[in-house]
Amino acid sequence: MLPGMGDDTCAITLKVNGSTLRLQVAPWTTLLDLLRERLGLTGSKKGCDHGQCGACTVLVDGVRINSCLSLAVMRDGASVTTIEGLAEGDALHPLQQSFIEHDAFQCGYCTPGQLCSAVGLIAEGHAHSEDDIRELMSGNLCRCGAYPNIVAAIGQAMRPRRDA
């Protein structure tokens, strides 16, 4: 048992999109609910709440995970990046730019999860073809069926830009 842990709430420290926060959380609070309900970061979506859709995907210490199946208290000390933390000021993340260029969304509900997942996919470095991208993005469902453009957008973001 760590100091600061009562039976009802626990003191944790989280770095969220670069800011260090000290929070008191009940152990049954998921990371997704903490982000959305307490911190007002509603970019991450609750699609299914059961690990089946990927709309809640965020990066924890750079690794993509489903925040709906993660208890906030277990992430004490971690660094979390959500869709709100991808851009640098007004400069969009290259993947965000690529999604816009490829029209890789329709309603946009799945998009924050798709983008965080794609950032994770590129960091993992296991995708070498469009088939790989399709397979390794299979944890993110898109009800609008924007898949072909999502795959194209990620493919472009993975290639070095000609104008760069």
Binding site: W28, T30, L71
Partner: protein, 331 residues
């Protein structure tokens, strides 16, 4: 989710001690199965013992030439580990055939072993289920049982174990290392999961309060001739209807040793040494493979919606053996 207490264990002894003091406490690792079950009110632990800070994240070579995987190594880290990918490709393939990248990043080796069935009735707290509420009955028998068992089931439960990784570990004849209130012990993989019999509430032979610390792989990984074939409703992100893990050791074109395990067909990964014996000393041949498939389902029984799995096993076994002989799924 129910209200529960939270303990973060710092070492194995602390985790085991915390569990010993409370029958209704549960360990939590990746949380991908337990948090889901808690949201559905299928699990309602009094306390979660967070084991993610335990020093069980190493993949180490063993003196006997085998490889030991710590219980907290994530499914992704196992699948992409260079020693696993090169020496035990069957295990990498099985893991990568399961769940999604996000879930595999969270899921642990120990938690994968202990994930519970995806039987629809087990997941619906409003309905009876012998596994969830012993003695209440099994609505799957005469209900919707497309995903259920064709081998080793009992009148009390026809659920299947959903893991892909475990099918590969069965074929590789891994060993599970555990530590509990009575000390440490090793369990052969074939003995780790159990058939339902008259106690379907028990998925494994783990004793109360025992913690999985590692999974050990023997030296032989069948790297040159192995495959994991998974047949499912979608190409990706779906549980197996039937899966086949095969490892062959070939000497001069003859099968010197064969391992075969089936997933999606029973309450545990299904290994049948008599089927493996049919292959030993033989040259690869489609008629032989068909005979092995036939032999594996000799006692199979469907419950209606899952009858198709019997024919599916016969065919999937032939295809998996052909793939293994050729050198792998893409060879």
């Amino acid at each position: 989710m129910n209200r529960f207490g939270y303990t973060r264990a710092g070492d194995v002894a602390e985790a085991v001690h915390a569990a010993a003091g409370d029958d209704a406490a549960q360990f939590i690792a990746g949380g991908t199965n337990l948090v889901d079950l808690m949201k559905e009110r299928i699990a309602a632990p009094s306390r979660l013992i967070d084991i993610t800070r335990l020093p069980l994240r190493a993949v180490k070579s063993l003196p006997d030439g085998g490889l030991e995987i710590g219980a907290l190594v994530s499914n992704s880290d196992v699948a992409y580990h260079p020693e696993v990918a090169s020496r035990y490709p069957l295990l990498s393939q099985a893991i990568l055939a399961g769940a999604s990248p996000q879930l595999r990043n969270m899921a642990s080796t120990g938690g994968n072993l202990l994930q519970r069935t995806r039987c629809y009735y087990f997941y619906d707290a409003a309905l009876p289920c012998n596994k969830r509420a012993p003695g209440s009955g099994c609505p799957a028998r005469d209900g919707v049982n497309r995903i259920h068992a064709i081998l080793g089931a009992s009148e009390h439960c026809i659920a299947v174990h959903p893991s892909d990784m475990c099918v590969a570990l069965a074929a590789l004849a891994a060993t599970v290392h555990v530590t509990g209130p009575a000390g440490a012990r090793a369990i052969e993989f074939a003995e780790f999961h159990r058939l339902p019999g008259d106690a379907p509430e028990r998925d494994t032979t783990l004793q109360p309060g025992e913690l999985v610390t590692a999974v050990a792989l023997p030296r032989e990984g069948f790297a040159a001739h192995s495959t994991y074939l998974k047949v499912r409703d979608r190409h990706s992100y779906a549980f197996a209807l039937v899966s086949v893990a095969v490892g062959l050791r070939m000497v001069d074109g003859t099968i010197a040793e064969a391992r075969l395990a089936l997933g999606g067909v029973a309450h545990k990964p299904w290994r049948d040494p008599t089927a493996e014996a049919l292959l030993r000393g033989q040259r690869p041949d489609d008629a032989l493979f068909a005979a092995v498939g036939e032999h594996l389902v000799r006692d199979a029984r469907g419950c209606g919606h899952n009858d198709f799995k019997i024919a599916l096993v016969r065919r999937a076994v032939v295809r998996a053996l052909q793939q293994a002989v050729a050198g792998g799924p893409r060879a």
